[in-house]
Amino acid sequence: MSANTDLKRTPLFETHIASKARMVDFGGWNMPVQYSGIVEEHNSVRQAVGLFDVSHMGEIDVRGPEAGKLVDYVTTNHAAKLKHGQAHYSALLYEHGGFVDDILVHKVADDHFFLCVNSSNQEKDFEHIRQNNRFEAEVEFTSDQYAQLAIQGPKALATLQKLTPVDLAGIKYYWFVDGEVSGAPARIARTGYTGEDGFEIYIQPAEAARIWAEIMKAGEEFGIRPCGLGARNTLRLEAKMALYGHELTASINPFEADLGWIVKMDKGDFVGRAALEKVRANGLTRKLAGFEMRGRGIGRDGYEITIEGQPAGWVTSGGPSPTLNKNIGLCYVPANKTAPGTAIEVTIRNVPVEAEIVATPFYKRRQGASA
């Protein structure tokens, strides 16, 4: 692998190189795509525990007496309903209703909200929020202040609990606690992007390499593996979690993306609301759906979809599912063609190959410790 010095590095870059990770350019970041192998890493998260460096993710702090009002004005979910220490999935929209980004909103205090945003969108998100800030609130771009690690899998809690006095079992799904990991300050959130139980921790960049090593040691008895972006993608796809640039773009609205549940139309005005009113009145023309390949072949990102030979949509994310041992994917198709059992064709190297719309998520974990 050539060392591209123009790419941004996380505080764990040296750790990844020492671990013989295969590094790739991911939206301008030099990130590990895999260590031992995508399938092995994927399975370790489904069966035990895996550790991800997700320090490329962006962070934005919103503070001030009207911090909540600003967050509610620029996002689709209802931030005012969050309790201290609670988080939710949400979206930033343009006026026309398309996605700026999908984000996590954490309520730290009445006057402090902490946003976790996609790496490749962070500057754009920051500008978007600032431009819409007509409130008594300060928006601060704080990505440089955090490294982020994701500890995911059924043994994530047992692994991380060895390193923190915080009662992790007491943190409910999509709640967080400001505490310590390995003696260093950490925001510990019970969130993730894998479809498994687990935690995402926000720590000081200078502590990242040491904490990474301690987590790897703590998880040794469970067979912990470092996991790259390759496994992160197959895991999130099985769980039907959207990826910006694939399922979500500036020309897709949340109803099309099957994310109506994060849009609270009755919370008051927000950026994009008027456009979404129109979408609701007019109905959807296309919608996100899951498919499974029936014929031989793998439908991949960007492949065309036809129904009875006519152009009908495109694959947003597709590939083999290591857990289900099937070839699966997500696609946009006409809204009246999303019923499970609908026959579609995916065009693979100019040949239409049979596939079928199926119910999603493709994978759902057995009920975890808390939900």
Partner: protein
């Protein structure tokens, strides 16, 4: 893994083993390693023609699709059926049991001159 001396190699990481007017074609250990977990192999049917330098099939890993180029021209006599059911064999035995196709070489085959020896290929992937 070592690269068999009796094989010839391409810059696109295929190998070819020529015996008389017959050849066996596969991908190299370096190629399978770069691809990672191989999950799907698409091969031509017996009877179809392959042309040196042109793609004749594809190998897919979890992450990506990779075209395979023919190191020689000829007619396909056999496609490795083993790989339809167990494509992961390509990760474990790329120079042996997980060959891709066998071909009957076209009559005028002075085409092998541009291929690399095992030593040259080893240098090539070492330097890449």
């Amino acid at each position: 893994m070592s690269y068999p001396e009796s094989y010839k190699y391409t810059k696109e990481h295929e190998w070819v083993h020529i015996e008389g007017d017959r050849a066996t074609i596969g991908i190299t250990d370096h190629a399978q390693h770069e691809l990672g977990d191989i999950v799907f192999v698409d091969l031509p049917k017996p009877g179809s023609a392959v042309t040196k330098g042109q793609t004749f099939g594809s190998v897919e890993s979890v992450k990506a699709v990779s075209d395979i180029y023919a190191p020689v021209s000829g007619e396909v006599t056999e496609a490795n059926e083993l790989l339809a059911k167990t494509p992961e064999q390509l990760n474990s035995d790329p120079h042996g049991a997980a060959w891709l196709i066998k071909v009957k070489l076209s009559p005028s085959n002075s085409e092998t001159d541009s291929l690399m020896s095992a030593a040259d290929y080893q240098n090539y992937v070492g330097a890449e």
